[in-house]
């Protein structure tokens, strides 16, 4: 798990530089500071379980086992990218690992995740679907319809809210009536659980419990993971809507050093192993950059492919 967290951090840390060098374009959103949520949640899932992601999706893909080479190639719009260059950051998907796609529409994943859960239920496949979404997305209309359906049909669905306190400039406490997103679960008669999103093991435990409920046929769970977006919403965000002072306590709670220290302290990991792992991640990232840049551009006529099956 630590490795994946470090890999996410390393991957998303490249973004500003890649923009500056005009190697990537469009919008992409770094999940730096939120790695524990993605990794903890996916660690509690089976390999064939489904996830849906958001505009801030790199971390989710990596956490579910995605390939950073193909991710990077997609960001660079190349032929070997996950979407052959058609999607870019906000549309990375890997159906082979149950990753049903990032989404450029806030709230766009609710229906897809619930539909995958319904499909799993109808097919009796024993799969569970987990929907990542933000504190901003919980106010989107689609949340309501899906939460209600999931409730009445007891869908094997985990609604995982990454409450990073902001939706662009919108503060959760100002935008969410009732203050706490977790309260919304009760309205639909299913459990809502709050968890420390900076603690990867806590996230994993909460999702594992929700996973059990889902498999037992007891229906959906809302898990609200309190976390924080360490960087701007996207590259270029001036962040005038928040102060350094309010950020500081969150930045101090960085989930990666925290998890690393605890693994070291509890003897699960040795310092040398940790260093080797970090080096390995650096190598993987360098390889991804190389892979992506070596990948050919798509041919213009490919733009006419993949519209219809």
């Amino acid at each position: 798990m630590l490795r994946r967290m470090v890999l996410i951090r390393a991957f998303d840390s490249l973004l500003p530089d890649l923009y500056t060098r005009e190697l990537i374009r469009g919008s992409s959103h770094a999940a730096i500071g939120q790695e524990a949520v993605a990794v903890g949640a996916c660690a509690a899932l089976a390999p064939d379980d489904y996830i849906t992601s958001t505009h801030r999706g790199h971390g989710h893909t990596i956490a579910k086992g995605g390939d950073v080479n193909r991710m990077m190639a997609e960001l660079m719009g190349r032929e070997d990218g996950y979407c052959r260059g058609k999607g870019g950051s906000m549309h990375i998907a890997d159906f082979s690992i149950g990753m049903l796609g990032a989404n450029g529409i806030v709230g766009g994943g609710f229906g897809i995740a619930a539909g995958a859960a319904l499909s799993a239920q109808m097919r009796g496949s024993g799969q569970v679907a987990l929907c990542f979404f933000g504190d901003g997305a919980i106010n989107q209309s689609s949340f309501h319809g899906v939460a209600n359906l999931a409730g009445i049909w007891k869908l094997p669905l985990i609604l995982l809210c990454e409450d990073n306190r902001f939706a662009m400039s919108g503060r959760a406490e100002l935008m969410i009536a009732g203050g706490d997103p977790v309260k919304r679960a009760q309205a639909y008669g299913f459990p809502g659980v709050s968890v420390d999103g900076m603690d990867v093991l806590a996230v994993k435990a909460a999702v594992a419990e929700a996973h059990e409920r889902a498999l037992a046929g007891d229906g959906p769970t809302l898990v609200v993971a309190a976390c924080y977006r360490f960087q701007g919403h996207f590259s270029g965000d001036t962040q005038t809507y928040r102060t350094k002072e309010e950020m500081a306590p969150w930045l101090e709670r960085d989930p990666i050093p925290a998890f690393r220290s605890s693994l070291l302290a509890e003897g699960w990991l040795r310092e040398a192993e940790a260093d080797a792992m970090e080096e390995e991640v650096a190598t993987a990232i360098a390889a991804a950059l190389e892979f992506a840049q070596a990948s050919p551009w798509p041919e213009a006529q490919e733009a006419w492919e993949d519209v219809d099956a």
Binding site: Y50, T52, G81, Y82, C83, R84, G85, K86, G87, H91, A93, D94, F95, L100, G101, N103, G104, I105, G108, F110, G111, I112, A113, A114, G115, A116, A117, L118, S119, A120, M122, R123, A129, S141, S142, H144, G145, V146, N148, L149, I152, E305, D306, V307, D308, A309
Partner: protein, 337 residues
């Protein structure tokens, strides 16, 4: 060949496909328990009994989630056929339909398939007024990644719905309120009807008319009337708007040299213009007169009988449009007001 209503023919197609493929299921408001079980227009009648509540699902009133959830199910091995009670309520489903269903395969570089059918109905009928009478098929035609069907007869309804369900792409399937209880012959055998094949409903040589569904029967009636004067109309029913069988229309125009397109949807920005444009591109030199249209007025559909009759093209308006076309003069519904 047995006779049945359009609604029964649709029901038959659903039944056949659900028997054939366990991945096919039906979902929507009041599709299972309503009436004698099955939809305001009876299309899903009896399906809940035969296939059970798992595969014939009554949903809460939330069109957005009906389509949204269907997209997720379609991506993961199911073949949902959802019902939106009136096409006016498609307005609530545009996000999952247009941003998700239509685009996921493309955005994901071909990884996904979205075998989804959204059944709904269009058209004015008996004073349902502005929020239950819209004909929104042109919107869908303008969205790459969606196919659009609009069957005009019971036989086509059954065959096209069958094709739609077997298609691996999202299909918006427009039925027409006024057709549900009209009867017609439907072959015993299951028949396939490929998308993109128009039907020539009547052959003629003086002008070509393209029309579907409720407009088609009016056009055919006018054609019968004009035939007595020696005017021979060729009448083409497109069956599907995406893909559209432009070849059949162009071939006809090469013969008749005149074209009128008639749809109930609002004239401005409606699909008549798209067909006219394509015919202009492909057969300009064969046109003896500008392509004409007789379409729904550029106003919402009103409730009261005389008002509704004024804005939905009737036989008189169609005949007037045709006579003008044959005479070479211009005619537009704005002038009948």
């Amino acid at each position: 060949m047995p006779e049945m209503t359009y609604s029964e023919a649709l029901n038959l197609a659903l039944r056949e496909e659900m028997r054939r493929d366990p991945a096919v299921f039906v979902m929507g408001e009041d599709v299972a328990v309503w009436g004698d079980r099955g939809g305001v227009f009876g299309v899903t009648r009896g399906l809940a009994e035969e296939f059970g509540p798992e595969r014939v699902r009554d949903t809460p009133i939330n069109e957005e989630s009906i389509v949204g959830v269907a997209v997720g199910a379609a991506l993961t091995g199911m073949r949902p056929v959802v019902e939106i009670m009136y096409s006016d309520f498609l307005t609530l489903t545009m996000e999952p339909l247009v941003n998700q269903a239509a685009k996921l395969r493309y955005m994901f570089g071909g990884q996904a398939r979205v075998p989804l059918v959204v059944r709904t109905n269009l058209g004015a009928s008996g004073g349902k007024a502005a929020q239950h009478s819209q004909s929104l098929e042109t919107w869908m035609m303008h969205v790459p990644g969606l196919k659009v069907a609009m069957p005009s007869t019971p036989a086509d309804a059954r065959a096209l719905l069958r094709t739609a369900i077997r298609d691996d792409n999202p299909v918006v399937f427009f039925e027409h309120k006024l057709l549900y209880f009209q009867r017609g012959e439907v072959p015993e055998q299951e028949e396939s009807l490929e998308f993109g094949r128009a039907a020539v409903r009547r052959e003629g040589r003086h002008a070509t008319v393209v029309a579907a569904q409720a407009m088609l029967s009016k056009v055919l009636e006018v054609a019968r009337r004009l035939a007595s004067e020696g005017i021979d109309l060729e009448v083409i029913d497109p069956r599907t708007l995406v893909p559209f069988d432009i070849e059949t229309v162009v071939e006809s125009v090469r013969k008749t040299n005149r074209l009128l397109i008639c749809h109930e949807a609002t004239e401005r920005g409606g699909w008549a213009a798209e067909i006219a444009m394509q015919v202009g591109e492909l057969a300009f030199d064969h046109l003896d007169a500008p392509v004409a249209r007789v379409c729904g007025a550029n106003v919402p559909v009103p409730y009261s009988t005389p008002l509704e009759a004024a804005v939905v093209p009737g036989e008189a308006a169609i005949e007037q449009g045709l006579r003008a076309l044959l005479a070479g003069a211009r005619w537009g519904p704005a002038e009948i007001g």
